[in-house]
Amino acid sequence: MKGVLLMKRRRDKGGGPVLAPGRAVWLKGLVALTILVLHAPIVVMMVFSFNNSRRNVVWRGFTTKYYEQAFNDPALLEALINSLTIAVISTFLSLIIGALAALMLWRFRFPGKGAFEGAMALPLVVPDICMGVAMMVFFASIGWPSHLPWPLSLSNIIAAHVAFSFPFVAVVVRARLAHFNREWEEAARDLGASEWRILMDILLPFLKPALIAGALLAFTLSLDDFVVTFFTSGPETVTLPVKIYSMVRFSVTPKVNAASTILILLTVVATLIATRLQRPEETARAEMAAQGGGQG
């Protein structure tokens, strides 16, 4: 237990002192165990997507044929395209609504603000299943048209996704706004900036990391949502998670693993792109904002 805790300054400015684990073996062990429990199943699933066996229980050699099958399965492909379409559109809408909600709560005082804030945060805590049932009942009761041509047929799923993901964007953006120095705004105005220029030149660049983090959250939430989508999707509007679920009900073939691996890769790629879009110095701040705000 007598681990030597070394104080080490991080190279980049802005970061506080970082504790090195030193010789705390138990701490390292704990970390290793956590990683194993969290990630081993995913690795196993990915590995078995290359398994040359229909039953997929025992390893019978390497193959990529299930990826071929997956990409040649029109139903699976359609589900993938649906998922991506929904994710992109709902992210875009969540970003706008979430950022505007955060700005409004930060900037203005109005009657019922506290109640509004509470109501807005509800989707963060309401169980998915309740959300899904509520959405289903809601769309049925208002008679949302169900037989629209693609992509309008996805509109109810997109609306449901926006409803549960925009609060995440709002929380992340608000966390960042809390660190906004009002004197920046005043300085810009003093230097001749109009409200519009302040928004474009000062506020948005400042919010960029939070907007990227928020968009990433919204995108991944939408892409892998099963429960809410399950309740709101019709027979013609199947998304990848819903499709994978229906496939699993017949049998767990490597094709399911392949489809799941594709879903994971999409998420990882989105994350990587988002991190790349930010300058290194801003990454840390965005992470802090994301952690301080919504734990998805």
């Binding site: 400015k13 802005g14 120095n181 004197e183 920046w184 005043e186 300085a187 810009a188 105005r189 003093d190 230097l191 001749g192 900036a193 109009s194 220029r197 030149d201 000062i202 660049p205 400042f206 960029k208």
Partner: protein
């Protein structure tokens, strides 16, 4: 009444008339008339909450007055937005844009004017040279020291070539040494540019050392507007006298007054004659009535301190041989703060007639090492000063 609108006085670049501003139940600025002259270094000095920052923000346009009018260069700018006023501000936190480099920060105001790229580049270069920041163009604010940030903020405001530069507590975030350095630099800059500076500060040393004129504020009003020397030597009331520097007060009663001078009784000490110039308040000698309560005050550095029983110092030798020590008190050193160049002492002095003990603040020049070593806490000393070194306050 403060704005002496003499005809030969330099033109006012900023004129405030009856400015009033309330925040809820608090009146931050309570009816201020003020003329800031072309090319002067003007300071708004006062304790926190006196309304000095609000007044500065009203000039900048960041705050709207509830009543009153603001004229800049003779034009009524009361309702003009800050982005359309010919003034620029250096903020207390500097407010540098964190996502822009030094050069981008300085160029921002010019970009908004829509100037040509080459013109902007040239003026940014000039401004950075002015504040001696060449070579740091591509740094970001978080990679700068406090002093460098301060300079960027200055350059960013100066590059706009404002009619008036507003400075909101610009030195408060710097350490003591840097503050001293920037003080001299700001003064030099102001003289070189001939630009009107308006400084807000709570630090009297800052105001005294830099400003041409100072307005001392309290509770949203100007208590006194004067040159630094005037504020220090002729404070109009107890508040100003106490706020600027240290001072000792004595309550006294007026006994006799004519064109020549005043005769007062200092309780516990005795009668004193003072020349009429010691009366520094607005009330003239003719307005005073016998028996009026007056406050006599003496600055700590105008008191001579010597060892008790050491009569080598002849009265005639003191104070250039002109005045004699009209007041002479004995006491002992109770506290002593050594500042290197000067020592600040608190002497517990006994008033000769009443025997009452008063704590008197004395500043002692550490001119010779031996004299510093000669004194110690608890030592019996004699305090003396000429009556003419005192000032008379009516409040």
């Amino acid at each position: 009444m403060h704005a002496s609108a003499r005809e030969d006085a330099p033109r006012a670049v900023v004129s405030l008339r009856g400015i009033r501003r309330r925040f809820g139940r608090v009146t931050a600025v309570d009816g201020i008339d003020l003329d800031i002259r072309e090319g002067e270094f003007f300071a708004l000095l006062g304790p926190s909450g006196c309304g000095k920052t609000t007044l500065l923000r009203i000039i900048a346009g960041l705050e709207r007055p509830d009543a009153g009018r603001i004229f800049i260069d003779g034009a009524d700018m009361t309702t003009t937005a800050p982005n359309h006023r010919p003034v620029n501000m250096v903020f207390q936190s500097y407010a540098l844009f964190p996502h822009m480099t030094v050069a981008e920060n300085v160029a921002y105001g010019l970009r908004l004017e829509g100037l040509a790229r080459a013109v902007i580049a040239e003026r940014v270069r000039e401004a950075l040279a002015l504040v001696r920041l060449e070579g740091l163009e591509d740094r970001r604010p978080d990679a700068l020291s406090g002093g460098q940030r301060q300079r960027v903020a200055l350059a960013r405001a100066l590059v706009k070539r404002p009619r008036v530069l507003l400075l909101d507590e610009p030195l408060s975030a710097l350490d003591a040494r840097l503050r001293e350095e920037m003080r001299l630099e700001l003064s030099a800059l102001q003289m070189r540019l001939g630009l009107t500076f308006v400084l807000v500060t709570h630090d009297q040393d800052e105001a005294l050392s830099m400003a041409d004129r100072i307005a001392v504020m309290r509770n949203g009003r100007i208590e006194q507007l004067d040159e630094p020397e005037g504020l220090y030597e002729r404070p109009r009331n107890r508040f100003v006298a106490e706020f600027i520097g240290k001072i000792n007060f004595f309550d006294s009663i007026l006994e006799e007054v004519d064109e020549e001078g005043l005769r007062v009784v200092l309780p516990g000490v005795g009668p004193l004659s003072l020349p009429v110039r010691c009366l520094v308040t607005e009330r003239k000698a003719a307005d005073l009535a016998l028996g009026d309560a007056l406050t006599l005050a003496i600055r700590p550095e105008k008191i001579r301190i010597s060892r008790a029983g050491d009569h080598a110092d002849a009265d005639s030798d003191l104070f250039g041989g002109q005045d004699k020590a009209d007041v002479r008190l004995t006491g002992r050193i109770a506290e002593w703060a050594y500042y290197g160049g000067i020592s600040h002492m608190i002497v517990e002095a006994t008033l000769p007639q009443s025997g009452e003990v008063r704590r008197i603040s004395v500043v002692f020049q550490n001119a010779a090492k031996e004299t510093v070593e000669a004194f110690d806490i608890g030592d019996a000393v004699v305090l003396s000063w000429p009556a003419s070194a005192m000032i008379v306050l009516t409040s």
